[in-house]
């Protein structure tokens, strides 16, 4: 078997990783829509999806089935080729970008083959991500243009202009991090953030030496929210002005593809923010014997969540919920015990902290959407060009100055 693996690394190592990651990612996308609807609903003192499954847990499934069985209309006079190309381009580019994200430090062994906990570990990982982001504009622009309709055209023009503008500050804002790490390799950027100030404050780039990238992070996250066309920068789909923007004329699964692309880029941006500014998979606690108990935080978190879910589930309104919720709780409890086993416990540290940090960013994304009103278009352009871009250049100058002064 090992002989076979050594000769066919693609079949046995890369392919399973791709399949597993795609499966996890697409499920996460589906449940991200549920998460967003729930959080926004609670921010607005509503319940959100509640009918389909306990706490609306089967809502993503219902949505998916509905998208699949809707009639797929093509508007009259549409440019057929571009009209079909646009959603495919959007979704495939958004999903491709996850390929360079490292989820953990450890090399995992598949059939004796050592392989990183990412689909690929590229020396130019960050540049590849930006290359993919810069191509993402085409999906939006083509969708708007090819629909042969006024609102999509205006929406497409708006959002491509917005994406071009904010791409500049997005790229400039990470230059500080690249300068400090001295590499474009995402894994190397994470490992460059190891170590602690005074033994207990992590040296993540956000508060790292020689120049804390707080400004860089704020610029990055703001630009990234704008780049992914999310509220409060969602002028592309300002309902009151443009119906739904570039995807107004799309129905059925092609609409769902745009939707999934948006959520996939949200996940990518959260991963990138975690890797660049918050130490990626690094634990916030020092790796000394005194802090060894922090290795069991995943277990405790899962167990507490599982027990709470069981306690809540047995008193749920519907019989279905009284079965499903405790089962999910038991599964979480089991998973918690599994990750406390010796051998497993070290392996899950990286992915656990990484996923936790991503979830926080995803929550912030939704929180911002539920809190802030939409920008006006001229304000949006002013904000990008006259505030974010100069500030990001300033950040580059300050950071390089700090590096030169402390280098000696």
């Amino acid at each position: 078997m090992n002989e076979f693996a050594a000769h066919h690394p693609f079949l046995l190592v890369v392919l399973p990783k791709v399949v597993i990651l795609l499966f996890v990612l697409l499920t996460a996308l589906a449940y991200l829509t549920w998460f967003e609807r729930k959080v926004v609903a609670h921010i607005q003192s509503r319940w959100g999806p509640y009918r389909v499954g306990p706490h609306g847990l089967l809502q993503p499934l219902a949505d998916g089935v509905k998208f699949l069985f809707k009639e797929d209309v093509t508007p009259a006079g549409a440019d057929k080729f571009a009209y079909f190309l646009a959603p495919f381009l959007s979704l495939s580019l958004a999903i491709t970008s996850i390929a360079v994200i490292p989820f953990g430090p450890s090399d995992i062994k598949i059939f004796g083959q050592s392989t990183p906990l990412a689909i690929t570990n590229l020396n130019i990982g960050l540049l590849v991500l930006f290359a993919i982001t810069s191509m993402g504009v085409y999906g939006v622009a083509l969708a708007g243009w090819s629909s042969n309709s006024k609102y999509p055209l205006l929406g497409g023009l708006r959002s491509s202009a917005q994406m071009i503008s904010y791409e500049l500050s997005l790229t400039m804002s990470v230059v500080g991090v690249v300068l400090m790490a001295g590499t474009f390799n995402l894994s190397a950027i994470v490992t460059s953030q190891q170590g602690f100030h005074w033994g207990f404050i992590p040296r993540w780039n956000l508060i790292g030496a020689p120049m804390p990238q707080i400004l860089g992070f704020l610029l990055f996250f703001t630009s990234a929210v704008a780049e992914t066309n999310r509220s409060p920068f969602d002028l592309a789909e300002a309902e009151s002005e443009l119906v739904a923007g570039f995807h107004t004329e799309y129905a059925s699964f092609k609409f769902a593809m745009f939707f999934m692309a948006e959520y996939a880029s949200m996940i990518t941006v959260s991963c990138l923010a975690t890797i660049l500014f918050f130490g990626g998979w690094l634990s916030p606690f020092p790796q000394t014997p005194f802090w060894a108990w922090t290795h069991y935080i995943p277990t405790v978190a899962l167990a507490v969540a599982g027990l709470a879910l069981i306690a809540h589930g047995v008193r749920y309104i519907t019989a279905f919920g009284r079965v499903v919720l405790p089962v999910i709780g038991l599964a979480m409890l089991g998973l918690g015990i599994l990750v406390s086993l010796p051998g497993v416990v070290d392996f899950v540290q990286g992915p656990f902290w990484f996923l936790l940090k991503i979830s926080i960013f995803l929550f912030v994304y939704v929180w911002v959407r539920g809190t802030l009103p939409r920008f006006r278009y001229d304000q949006l352009m002013d904000f990008g060009w006259k505030l974010l871009l100069p500030l990001s250049i300033l950040n580059v100058v300050i950071t390089s100055l700090a590096i030169v002064l402390t280098q000696k």
């Binding site: 571009a82 020396n123 130019i124 930006f130 290359a131 083509l142 491509s160």
Partner: protein
């Protein structure tokens, strides 16, 4: 046939097909899309040569920034399909033969130059890592590099002046 050659042939075929389609398409947007295909195929060719930084920059700058501006302008002007005309006398009897002669000449010189080239020796002599590239660019070729950016700045200012001429007063 090694995998490298197979990938090269596929990418080269895609690039050439994109270039031909760029000329033959009647709609400006379709032409622009064909040009993007060419750019991405070229980036793949650079990657095949081990120039990963150049490949990424090719996609970011040409595939992303410049072509997005092309498409944006075409969308903004809402340019329609072009009409096909019979080629003019000059194009038919001077342009076509000249084009064939030039293509032949370029092919001949490239063929001559690469005939005796040792590909492995040439590849090892070229620095491809981002670090080496930037050291070269910002140490050895600092002056030409800054001069180029200055030239681009002049072009930008020129465009700004031309665009502003109408509404200055």
């Amino acid at each position: 046939m090694t995998p490298q050659i197979a990938v090269f042939i596929v990418l080269a075929a895609v690039a050439v097909a994109g270039a031909v389609s760029l000329i033959l398409q009647r709609h400006p947007i379709h032409s622009a899309l064909s040009l993007i295909v060419v750019m991405v195929a070229l980036a793949g060719l650079y990657l095949l040569q081990g120039a990963d930084f150049v490949a990424a920059v090719q996609i970011i700058v040409y595939g992303g920034a410049i072509m997005v501006l092309f498409i944006f302008v075409i969308m903004l002007l809402n340019a329609g399909e072009e009409e096909r005309t019979n080629s003019s006398f000059m194009a038919r009897y001077v342009g076509v033969p000249l084009g064939i002669v030039f293509t032949g000449e370029v092919a001949y010189w490239i063929g001559r130059a690469t005939l005796h080239l040792n590909p492995t020796a040439a590849a090892s002599a070229v620095t491809t890592s981002t670090r080496d590239l930037s050291t070269l660019l910002f140490r050895q070729y600092m002056f030409p590099f800054e001069l180029t950016s200055f030239l681009i700045l002049i072009a930008l200012l020129g465009a700004l002046v031309l665009a502003r001429r109408g509404d200055s007063d």
